[in-house]
Amino acid sequence: MVKVVTNLNSMPNGDADPTELALDLDKSNGLFGILTKTGRAGADIGFVLINAGLLHRVGPFRLYVEIARSLAKAGYPTIRMDLSGKGDSDAMSGLSLAETNLVNIRTACEKLEHETGARRFVIGGLCSGADDTLQAAAKLDNLAGMLLFDGYTPKGMQYYMRRYAPRLFSPQSWRKRLLKNGQQQNGQGSPIGTLRNWGTPKEMVQRYRDAVDANTRILAIYTGWAGNHCAYPLQLTNAIKHPRAAALITERHLPNATHLMPISAHRQQAIESILEWTEGFVSSETIL
């Protein structure tokens, strides 16, 4: 369990960093997070970022810290949280993983509302953070949006055509394939889906459809890592086959970035995408 020492001296150094508070999100269950506050009053939308795999709330190469501080400067408070059993949060027993994540996210949203007045929430993360967000989405109240880095993307005929057709006519591709088959016989390589919290393709598509049904906006950011299952822009939008998908889903591809974004310029591109999406998000609320 973590106590909060709210340090009144934790003020930004000029414009350098927004104010941050260490938060006891749930005393009884040892749930921890950091709130990055905005200097602007009346934020209606707040963000909650959840763990990327087993990394703690900082994110790979401080990605979550950079996102949170950028959002705060743009007027959106953010909680970077450690889900139960990750980072500095204690493990919680008695519930399934999905139930625990849901409880955790709801708790963070309540705390964000309490601390900042935000009443609608964007939840998101990288890798398992995207998966956990999508899984919890249908049961979250006041979910305004989802921020999914390298989330699941349904494949369709166009995916297979774009991904595999060029390889049929490439000798180099055939050579690589033959070598790779040799390696797999030696036990190397494993399907991506087994390492992630992915349901069946049908379940995953339904999760997206449910989110779009609920008017949840989605920003899906794909790095080059996702190339194995996301072959072209608008793949997700097309695969959902929902009349409002195009209006609610924004896809941004960063093909030169890798999954954990060690290159600062790629993290910056991702942040700019988020900020651009958010501004468009708020301005179009009255339209929807």
Partner: protein, 233 residues
């Protein structure tokens, strides 16, 4: 387990820390845990949290913290980063004294933090270092290897673009490699020798078989290492 307390401390309250007060009978003895740097920071978080909690259960007052520009601490990398970070170890040692009332404070350092903590060794009751860097030139090469391994995954980038990132955004720090390397090699060049020559009474080196260069960024579950560190107290 008693609650851990989070705090911002130091000059301008810019350093983030997690303070683990002792459970049960207090030994009236503080410990500051100094995480390793760059990629290694992420890999060790879980283990060092476990070490902190277990040592608190043994009665110690334990403070883990993030250096300026790292983790949850404020700011970006300070220009004189290694000297600044070394000073911050001293700030953390004083903070744990202020929080606990303890006079004696030990250090647990990992990798290059052992070098950063070297100048505080004489003012600490004990220095336990996890895979300390004993040769700065070799560590510089290891950082190059970590960078190369990370950039090798960017197969869609042309070689000159990868080279540009390596030289100007080394290890994702936004620092030029040359500048970081110069700062590294200029920092207290004798710390390797000091660490090698420290007496076994007050200095313990814990060796693990972790591959710091090639390990997954996400996690190191080095329970044996954690237990060795804890047993050193």
């Amino acid at each position: 387990m008693k609650d851990a307390e989070s705090l911002f401390f130091g000059n301008g309250s810019r350093l983030f820390g997690m303070y683990h007060p002792p459970t049960g009978q207090s030994r009236n003895h503080g410990i500051v845990i100094c995480a390793p740097l760059f990629h290694e920071y992420y890999r060790s978080h879980f283990v060092l949290r476990k070490v902190a909690g277990d040592l608190a259960n043994k009665g110690f007052d334990v403070l883990r913290f993030d250096y300026s520009g790292v983790g949850d601490s404020q700011g970006s990398l300070p220009d004189d980063l290694f000297n600044t970070w070394s000073e911050e170890i001293g700030v953390a040692m004083q903070e744990v004294r202020d929080l606990s009332g303890c006079k004696n404070v030990a250090l647990i350092t990992a990798r290059f933090s052992a070098s950063l903590g070297c100048c505080w060794q004489s003012r600490s009751s004990k220095h336990v270092s996890w895979d300390p860097v004993l040769d700065q030139q070799q560590y510089s090469q290891e950082l190059d290897e970590m960078s190369a391994a990370s950039l090798a995954e960017h197969s869609s980038l042309p070689a000159d673009a990868r080279d540009h990132h390596e030289q100007n955004d080394f290890l994702g720090t936004r620092w030029p490699r040359k500048k970081l390397n110069e700062r590294l090699l200029a920092f207290a060049p004798n710390t390797g020798a000091q660490l090698r020559e420290a007496s076994l009474d007050d200095s313990v080196h814990v060796r693990s078989d972790v591959s710091w260069i090639s390990a997954s960024l996400a996690m190191i579950y080095a329970h044996d290492t954690a237990n060795q560190i804890i047993e050193a107290f």
